[in-house]
């Protein structure tokens, strides 16, 4: 069995480092490399296969994106699998193929990995941890602490697609829609943004906790407030409608292929142009600005014309009846 699994990984992830079959991968940095960027993420999702992706592609995209928004060009990934006893091999192969495709498309190699099988009931099918290593893009420092009052806040596209696509698959909530997860590798988009404006202050991908969490992280790190306009925040009608049905707020729903950028106001048009020219940034929108506020509040002008706070999410967002 173990051998079978090893063969599966070798076949699909195929690269010189894996082929060497050592305990670890010995990697040579590009000649001009300066600092290293490293990120890790555990991936747990139910269902494992969903419209627009699966746990495999998600495990690649999630970590590639974490490296990319930290200002790194992702080069290598590790992949560790925890498998539940009895997990169908065919499903595992589907996941591995999907990971391999996602890694290839993102230009990264999966160079080392591990597999453990646990007793039935000790894990939900499969859990995947990936760690990514990349080299820092020279001359770029991405840090939300650099955000200043007046800076523009830009999102790269529609919000809530991933979370609501997953939600639509939950048995008890079942609703039908064309919604697909936005799961995607953002390193290409980040390259395009940094090429246009190396002085971008901060990038972050609004995964769990959604846009609201990122805006609050930015505000806290920078020690300023943020003011956004609801009408400028792109949300698909299906996401709005399914959120209405379940009592959820798209601002708090997870994304897996979007980023939030903060930049000097004079740089905003170039950041927007760079995003719009990239397939993953077509719906990019300038949603608001940082402002002086020592309470570090994130506030929103509602589409209705009022004002409200956009606070951190308390716990996991669950469907409401009241």
């Amino acid at each position: 069995m173990a051998q079978l699994i090893e063969q599966l990984f070798l076949r699909h992830f195929d690269n010189p480092w894996l082929r060497a079959q050592n305990d670890g991968a010995c990697l040579s940095l590009p000649p001009d490399a300066g600092r290293i960027v490293m990120a890790t993420d555990c991936h747990v999702v139910s269902p494992l296969f969903f419209p627009g992706g699966d746990i495999g592609s998600l495990a690649v995209h999630g970590t590639v994106n974490d490296v990319a928004v930290a200002g790194g060009r992702p080069l290598w990934l590790s992949a560790a699998f925890i498998l539940e006893e009895g997990f169908p091999l065919a499903d595992l192969e589907r996941i591995v193929v999907s990971m391999a495709e996602a890694a290839r498309a993102a230009g990264v190699a999966i160079v080392t990995g591990d597999t453990k099988v646990v007793e039935r009931g000790k894990c939900d099918g499969v859990f995947i941890n990936t760690t990514g290593v990349g080299v820092a893009v020279p001359g770029v420092t991405l840090d939300p602490a650099n955000i200043r009052p007046g800076d523009a806040i830009i999102v790269s596209g529609t919000l809530g697609d991933h979370g609501m696509a997953i939600m639509s698959q939950r048995e008890s909530l079942s609703f039908e829609s064309e919604l697909r997860s936005d799961s995607a590798a953002l390193n290409g988009l980040v390259d395009a943004i940094l090429a246009a404006v190396p002085g971008v202050r901060a990038l972050r991908d609004p995964t769990r906790g959604g846009l609201a969490a990122v805006l609050n992280e930015f505000a806290q790190a920078a020690g300023c407030g943020i003011h956004v306009r609801e009408s400028a925040i792109p949300v698909r009608p299906e996401v709005t409608a399914s959120c209405e049905l379940l009592g959820l707020d798209p601002l708090y729903v997870a994304n897996e292929g979007k980023l939030v950028a903060a930049c000097a106001p004079e740089d905003a048009p170039r950041v927007l142009d760079a995003m719009h020219a990239h397939p993953l940034g077509r719906d990019a929108s300038l949603i608001g600005y940082a402002q002086i506020d020592e309470r570090c509040f994130v506030q929103m002008e509602t589409a209705f014309g009022g004002r409200r706070m956009v606070d951190w999410l308390t716990g996991e967002q669950l469907p409401r009846i009241c």
Binding site: S172, L173, P237, T240, A241, E244, L246, D249, R295, F297, Q299, E301, T302, A303, F304, G305, G306, R307, R308, M309, D311, T314, G315, L318, P319, R320, I321, C322
Partner: protein, 375 residues
Amino acid sequence: MKYVDEFRDGTLARGLAQTITAEARPGRTYRLMEFCGGHTHAISRYGIADLLPSSVQLIHGPGCPVCVLPIGRIDAAIALAREHNVILCSYADTLRVPASKGVSLQHVRAAGADVRMVYSCADALRIAQDNPSREVVFFAIGFETTTPMTAAVVMQAAAMGVRNFSVFCNHVLTPPAMSHILESESDAALDGLIGPAHVSTVIGSRPYEKFVSESGCPVAISGFEPLDVMQSILMLVRQLNDGRVAVENQFQRAVTRDGNVKAQAMMAKVFSLRETFEWRGLGEIPASALRIADDFADFDAERRFAVGYRSVADPKACECASILRGLKRPADCRVFGTACTPDHPIGACMVSSEGACAAHYTYGRHAVTAITSPN
């Protein structure tokens, strides 16, 4: 979304706000309580308070079933899951509420109890059918909006002869709570009530008529969209200016005088009135809640498992009782935003996002400038 988007139009809202400002008389205040958490949510989420003149004050009422559910009832649900080894099915709203010793249903689930989140009570019945060897209890909460479906499912379970399904009934009634708040007013802190939307779709507008004429407090039944709320505020301002006291119905598109007669008949069949019921923050209110009727006693979890009830008081520092009656505002409470936050709620009003304090904490803190209590 038809019948939704039209009622969220910002341009109309600004016009309405001007009319309200123009018609609100200088030198007087309009203290209006929105009973329902749905209105509290709309007011907070759309920032309606920002659009109103300062003379119109909105007081967040107790109309959130999660907030007013007494800790003792959640303790009982926890005991069902932990000691009676049932599959306890519940709406997600109740899962996080801390009961005695800060323990929530989420905690006991993490500790191994079989607690399942359902989106509809029909799912709970399905779980019972799928697990014939287990007892399945539906932890029912909610106002009249949420009650008919519990009735429908109990009737369905009876018709199908499902023996392992029962309901832990905590359904509460809106009109008795509204009249309780008005009766306990010593200093007439409220000038008008914004009446519930979907509760009224079920019960109709008639049940409000009696206590409105008795209390002299006008009611405008209001839809849950932001323009609905603003229109209802204007209707109340006009009633108060004209010296009229009536039940007016802004939510005409979904509320009739008689309501949903079929749903009412199903509720009457499956439930009977409790003599009294404790509301968190408000205390005992006579004839304000429902239990499973004798004809359906087999489906009553309280009888099947001999569920005991022990009242648990909120900490003394908590001002929920005054806030729920409109006597104080969240920011008047010493523990608001310090010891009591949505992550660590101490009192009823902080428990769910619809609660007066939680809504203020989550959406309204930016506007806090010297809020004073009326007395």
